[in-house]
Symmetry: C2
Subunit: 330 residues, 2 copies
């Protein structure tokens, strides 16, 4: 029942360990006859290479760490799924860490992964500012790709959706359907998604209402905030509620329904991300879909291109185009 090793196969096939390794790894040409006997012996004994030993010798574990703020955030599971598929397809395994939205935990997890010799890190930073130190430290040691959120300039490669373009899509759509008194329901804080979406709204709102720029209310990325925001904003009767993500929009929708408002008749509501919940809301949510598959593919590409950690080449920043998904809410 003990594990079958190269040595066993070598013994059984009457040649050396080196030869067995070569035929199995295909790392150097080897005689046809020898190859056949070796393969037969390996098959017969049920040999399975030991990845740990291989990793020790070749200094590559074939493992990448995926560190994210909160797996329970409904935007992440589909991203995790795509990443897992992309990575497994190249024979790499995924170590997962959930940081509970806490930068301290995040730093600890990053450290743990580094100790486990991950080949690379995929990281969605908890906080633009408070994650920076740990991220920079890690980026100096292994290839690291930032996902979905930034973490200060020049810290690491990053790939994210083009938030400005997404917000522009929303604004164009609302302008085209005649909305003129928009309100933005966003998130405070320095997270890049929050900042960029807010800025893009401000930049584009003038197109809707050249005289008075739309009002802005800031809370966090939660359903509760969506509900609360409606209580604050509804009295002024906006004709569009542009929410910084789908959770906020879901909360807003819920509260508007309780108040008896007509969506989309009186007021349009839009989200951002297109989480699964968006299609289920009532009315179904018009939102901006993040290209999750491409995000994952691009991240994987950046990773494999990533040379050994610590190289200070120029950082790449990839921005992917989002797509507007028009449903019933606006």
């Amino acid at each position: 029942m003990a594990e079958v090793t190269l040595k066993d196969v070598a013994l059984a096939s009457g040649c050396s360990i080196a030869t067995v390794s070569r035929v199995l790894a295909g790392t150097r040409p080897v005689g046809a006859e020898t190859a056949r006997t070796v393969r037969a012996a390996a098959e017969r004994l049920g040999y399975r290479p030991n990845h740990v030993a291989r990793a020790l010798r070749s200094r590559s574990t074939g493992t990448v760490g995926l560190v994210l703020p909160q797996i329970t955030n409904p935007f992440f599971p589909s991203l995790v799924r795509e990443l897992e598929h992309a990575l497994h397809a190249e024979g790499r395994a995924v170590l997962l860490a959930d940081c509970d939205d806490d930068p301290v935990t995040e730093a600890a997890r990053i450290g743990a992964f580094l100790g486990r010799q991950v080949d690379a890190l995929l990281l969605i930073p908890v906080d633009e500012r408070r994650s920076r130190e740990a991220v920079a430290g890690a980026a100096a040691r292994v290839p690291l790709v930032l996902l979905d959120r930034g973490c200060g300039p020049g810290v690491a490669d990053s790939v994210a959706v083009d938030n400005a373009a997404g917000m522009a899509l929303v604004l164009d759509h609302l302008a085209a359907t005649g909305r003129r008194r928009p309100c933005f329901v966003g998130a405070a804080g320095t997270a890049s998604a929050a900042v960029e979406r807010r800025a893009a709204y401000e930049a584009g709102a003038a197109a809707l209402d050249p005289e008075a720029p739309g009002r802005i209310a800031l809370g966090d990325f939660s359903v509760e905030w969506g509900r609360a925001a409606v209580d604050r904003l509804w009295p002024s009767r906006p004709d569009a509620l542009i929410c910084a993500n789908d959770l906020i929009a879901a909360g807003a929708l819920q509260r508007l329904r309780q108040l008896g408002a007509d969506v989309p008749g009186e007021v349009a509501v839009t989200g951002f991300d297109d989480i699964p919940l968006a299609g289920l809301a009532d009315p179904a949510l018009t939102t901006v879909r993040q290209p999750v598959g491409e995000l994952a593919a691009e991240a994987a590409r950046l990773l494999s291109r990533g040379t050994a950690g610590g190289e200070q080449g120029p950082r790449h920043t990839v921005r992917l185009a989002p797509r507007l998904v028009v449903r019933d809410s606006g």
Copy 2:
């Protein structure tokens, strides 16, 4: 910039590799003076133990594989979160696999993890029957705990919610609130959750309506099926729709609203699992909450108790009590 190893620390502190290992691992008493210098040197050089080498030598990677059917199933993220926390707290790392609901992929992922020498596997099987072979094979090699779903008797340790108790909770509640013409909207197939919930409904439905047992409709665990089921069942005007999970219930709720039905006035709707969506539905969903934290804790406990793989001790099956969460839908 090269990695600092035990050898470097030994050199710097003027003693042998063995001694350094001993003071750092605390594996054998060592002179107070020596210990101090060694620790100082390690600190100064920034020594970080290499887990790969350690794993090779000690035949334990401190890694457990978590294999699940579909991370996008909204019930799983919170489970993954709890498991990740429980495991990281004991210093183990989590390798994640998403099987895309496909037993073949599942077998491949299990094999990949075994090759990576995981210490143990945590597994939510895709299918009661078609997962069995791969699961049994894996269970023979490492400690393996089945989560949430079973996989045939005697295959491995398992921990899951008590589905029968949960369904009984629902039925009691509906009986107490005067519902008499229930319908069960369940899932076909052999997945243990589907089977157990269906069986429990059948066993308990008599209490609601002693003469005619409630009707049963079977589809799958999806929102779409929930919608479709309403179209099939609503004409017969049941006064309660007991859904086998929250997704089905969400679909049912959506369709009932479209049809103008009064929930919970005319008809109560209940779910199962208490996924985040449940509280957001309109009306908020009455459902059965799975004790996710305890599930994870129990699984972790079973794992650490698990001796080396392949031991054929008696299998343990842990069933945890769920809790009824009464909201607005029934």
